[in-house]
């Protein structure tokens, strides 16, 4: 039985989350934008000291304090060197990101309540949950270290994912099919989605690391990021949390498959892809410690891993014939 009122509240909460996250994304963009002129001003003042007045005319020079070569906090400068405008934008963006995360959680919870089951039963619900966990990873990690430079690059893809979920993958709230009615749905799919959230943030940082490596640290928005070594460590740190969780997903899925389909491994396309993803990330962890492999090349393997996750979600669910046909489409 479906409670239509709760289901509509769930959707309302989702729309609100999207609106809030859009503002949050703009805030993070504002932070990065606010950071850059300070650096430009500095670079220019180094070349031509008499131009400082002109370039700092926006009024941020006083707020930003004396400019130094490492003014950007992400590269080790102190927060006081960040222009006030940028700091304000990031503060607002952070609060909105938190609010958006709470609204996403509320949406998933309301949807679960409306159908009285765990809200991870079809593509739409996976999409919302993946967005939720990606935001949770970002917000939670942001409590431990300054991740304001990352905000734009996480919130924007999350919004795209929510947009797709809401349009292409939208499915009405309904009961589950019999094979999904199991406690393993809660265990297997939830852990899978959490590790996807971790992989997603790791993937974004990996891309930023590779972009910085390719285009140098002084171009455009890349200047606002931490140095390459820090980025590489951050992405590795996320991957080594996500990988055991993905391993657990694989094992839990096998246990469930045995219960629902009679055999713990059926070479179903979804299983094959879960395995491929596991192998690719295992290769990443190996590549990182293999002599003769550069960190950059290893990071490319991690990027390939996340591409496989996207394929596994967006292509395998929809177009491959298998037993995991729960897209609800």
């Amino acid at each position: 039985m479906t409670n239509e009122t709760l289901a509509s509240y769930a959707n309302l909460s989702l729309y609100s989350a999207m609106a809030v996250l859009t503002l949050s994304m703009l805030g993070y963009a504002g932070y990065l934008a606010g950071l850059l002129p300070a650096r430009d001003a500095r670079a220019e003042s180094a070349d031509a000291p008499d131009r400082e007045l002109v370039s700092a005319g926006g009024g941020s020079a006083g707020d930003g304090g004396p400019s130094r070569a490492d003014a950007v906090t992400a590269r080790g400068g102190s927060d006081a060197q960040v222009p006030l405008r940028a700091r304000k934008a990031a503060g607002v963006a952070h609060t909105l990101a938190l609010l958006g995360t709470v609204l996403l959680f509320a949406s998933a919870a309301l949807r679960g309540a409306s159908v009285q089951r765990w809200p991870l039963g079809n593509m739409f619900e996976f999409g919302v949950a993946a967005a939720l966990f990606t935001m949770v990873v970002f917000v939670a990690y942001g409590l431990r270290r300054d991740l304001r430079w990352l905000g734009l690059f996480v919130v924007a893809p999350v919004l795209i994912l929510l947009g797709l979920a809401n349009t292409v993958w939208y499915t009405e709230a309904a009961e589950l099919m019999p094979s999904l009615k199991s406690v393993w749905l809660v265990i297997h799919v939830t852990v899978a989605t959490i590790s996807v959230g971790l992989f997603a943030v790791g993937f974004v940082i990996a891309l930023l690391y590779l972009a910085q490596d390719r285009f140098g640290t002084e171009r455009g928005v890349l200047r606002a990021l931490p140095d390459g070594k820090t980025l590489e460590r951050l992405t590795y740190g996320l991957h080594i949390i996500a990988f055991p969780l993905w391993t657990f997903t694989l094992i839990a899925g096998a246990i469930w498959a045995r219960q629902a389909w009679g055999s713990y491994w059926n070479w179903d396309p979804k299983e094959v892809w879960t395995f491929i993803i596991w192998v690719v990330y295992a290769a990443y962890l190996h590549a990182r410690v293999t002599r003769g492999w550069r960190r950059q090349s290893a990071t490319w393997v991690a990027v390939a891993g996340f591409v496989c996750i996207i394929v596994n979600y967006a292509v395998v669910n929809m177009y491959f014939v298998g037993q995991h046909s729960y897209s609800g489409l």
């Binding site: 094979s179 055999s263 396309p269 491929i276 192998v279």
Partner: protein, 530 residues
């Protein structure tokens, strides 16, 4: 394991040419080194990922033989070529096996020597402290009250409380090491993967699975002959099957009729099979339930509910009214609305020694319009049969054939009474259709559901599961624990009764936490001084 002696890499042969002094033994050693190197392992890992791909793209014979045959038939050129290359049986193909076997040989070749080294490392002492601790990436120096030897004693106790193993190679230094569990976990992970593959192989050799379609009211006895399909592992003796029986007494199916949205209306919601289960012949039957996520342990294999459908009860009589055929006849569902196909084979000879056969559709919620006969909902709301009739020989030359279709090679299709068109029979429940030309009649008496039960045994699954969990544990240990060495040197300070403590840390890989680790040791030390 003979694979390990083969050259793993074409480069091997080239090296053989440029280095003629490499004898056959040297060549083997070289090949082994190549195979067990990290680079090769990495290459093989990526290769496994790529090789697993086609199995998700092309239909696989072991999963869906019909769809595979269909695919090959539709692709006249590519189909047979891909078939020869094993693309429809990827996970049983020699090339896939070659890759993962090489990977595992490489793994064994890498892990065994490492286990030996690790075993020695765990039993050996931490190395001597380097001369200049300030050269280490993380280092610190503090001056404390107390004589050097007294302070050194407390340094050791502080390190031990921080779970370090300590040793003093001389009177002024302490060497300490911790984090051996990292390598232990790493080795556990890799060795456990071998357990996973052994468990899978064991299950393949000693496991079996069989499927049976069981209409409500019928009894299944666990003998090979009673299965519709059975695939025993190479080492299984089907004569040893446990002689349990189960009678399907009731089957419940529920479908979504509440939510109207796309993809949900008509979706299955619940299937339950109620059986009378008799463990051994003569024992008291027990009432048991088999659900989609709730299999039944029989003591000789596990019974899973993997399918269901309709078995309309069909009766065929001859012109005199004698019953020739009367059975609940399973029809196999073809789509989500259970448009089902099946056949009725009346083996008893009719007039002129000809046998009768019927083939066609069963439709639980039947609609007949310009799109042809079809079902629009999976539940049995308006059940109907749409059949064609044939006469002739049902089993030409005793060829094996499906229960759900007619082999019409030696049969002719019946025409309607005036011979103007092929005969089409449309029967709703309870109706009887009289066949033209005094061939008798066919009646749709009633409707039963059937349960598709799959009974499987996999003796390797426990080993696989335990190994997989061990691998997970090893993985967590190897990724979270850090191997760290800390060295401490004490020297008398300039002032009387004070001691300079120099501490330096050495970590494997880049270890952001080393500075904190040293702080932690110093804090513990200071706590002891107060």
């Amino acid at each position: 394991m003979s694979l390990s002696t083969q050259p793993a890499d074409p480069r091997t042969e080239r090296d053989d040419v440029t280095q003629p002094q490499l004898g056959p033994l040297g060549l083997l050693r070289f090949a082994w080194r190549q195979l067990t190197s990290m680079r090769t392992a990495l290459f093989l890992l990526l290769l496994v990922a790529v090789a697993a791909l086609p199995g998700s793209i092309f239909p696989q014979r072991s999963i869906d033989a019909v769809r595979t045959a269909d695919w090959i038939a539709r692709h006249e050129t590519a189909g047979p070529i891909l078939d020869t290359l094993g693309f429809f049986e990827v996970y049983a193909s020699p090339w896939f096996a070659a890759i993962y076997l090489l990977l595992f040989v490489s793994l064994v070749g890498c892990v065994l020597p490492r286990s030996r080294i690790h075993w020695r490392a765990m039993r050996s002492l931490p190395p001597r402290a380097p001369k200049r601790l300030e050269r280490l990436s993380a280092h610190e120096s503090v001056t404390l009250d107390g004589a050097p030897d007294e302070v050194l004693r407390e340094v050791r106790s502080a390190l031990r409380s921080g779970r370090f193993r300590t040793h003093s190679h001389d009177a002024t230094t302490v060497s300490a090491e911790k984090g051996y569990l990292k390598e232990t976990g790493n080795l556990l992970f890799h060795l456990a993967l071998i357990g996973v593959i052994v468990g899978m192989a064991w299950g393949h050799l000693l496991g079996w699975k069989g499927d049976v379609i069981l209409p409500v009211g019928q009894t299944f006895a666990n003998t090979v002959a009673r299965y519709d399909t059975i695939s025993p592992g190479p080492l299984v003796d089907p004569a040893d099957f446990t002689p349990f029986t189960m009678k399907l007494t009731r089957f419940d199916a529920e479908f979504e009729d509440d939510v109207q949205g796309k993809g949900q209306f008509g979706s299955p919601r619940d299937f339950t099979a109620y059986v009378d289960f008799t463990k051994t012949p003569g024992a008291e039957p027990e009432k048991k339930v088999i659900r989609v996520n709730g299999p039944l342990e029989t003591g000789g294999g596990t019974a899973f509910l993997l399918g269901n459908g309709y078995a309309p009860k069909i009766t065929v009589r001859n012109a005199a009214g004698t019953v020739l055929y009367s059975e609940a006849t399973p029809f196999l569902a073809q789509d989500n609305n259970y448009t089902s196909v099946g056949a009725v084979k009346v083996a008893g000879a009719g007039p002129a020694g000809k046998q009768l056969g019927f083939a066609g559709l069963f439709l639980p919620t039947a609609v007949l319009d310009e799109q042809g006969p079809r079902s629009v909902f999976p539940d049995a709301l308006e059940p109907a049969l749409a059949l064609s009739a044939f006469e002739g020989t049902l089993f030409p030359q005793g060829r094996p054939q499906s229960v759900y279709s007619l082999d019409t090679d030696d049969m002719t299709q019946l025409k309607n009474a005036d011979g103007s068109d092929l005969l089409r029979i449309w029967l709703t429940q309870g109706q009887t259709f009289t066949l033209p030309g005094g061939q008798g009649s066919i009646t749709f008496d009633g409707l039963e559901r059937f349960a598709g039960i799959s009974i499987r045994s996999d003796p390797g699954k426990e080993l696989t599961l335990v190994s997989a969990l061990a691998a997970l544990l090893g993985l967590i240990l190897s990724l979270t624990i850090r191997r760290r060495r800390v060295f401490v040197r004490v020297a008398p300070a300039a002032e009387q009764g004070r001691t300079v403590v120099s501490i330096g840390g050495l970590a494997k890989d880049d270890d952001e936490g080393m500075g904190e680790q040293l702080e932690d040791v110093l804090t513990r030390l200071k706590e002891r001084r107060t």
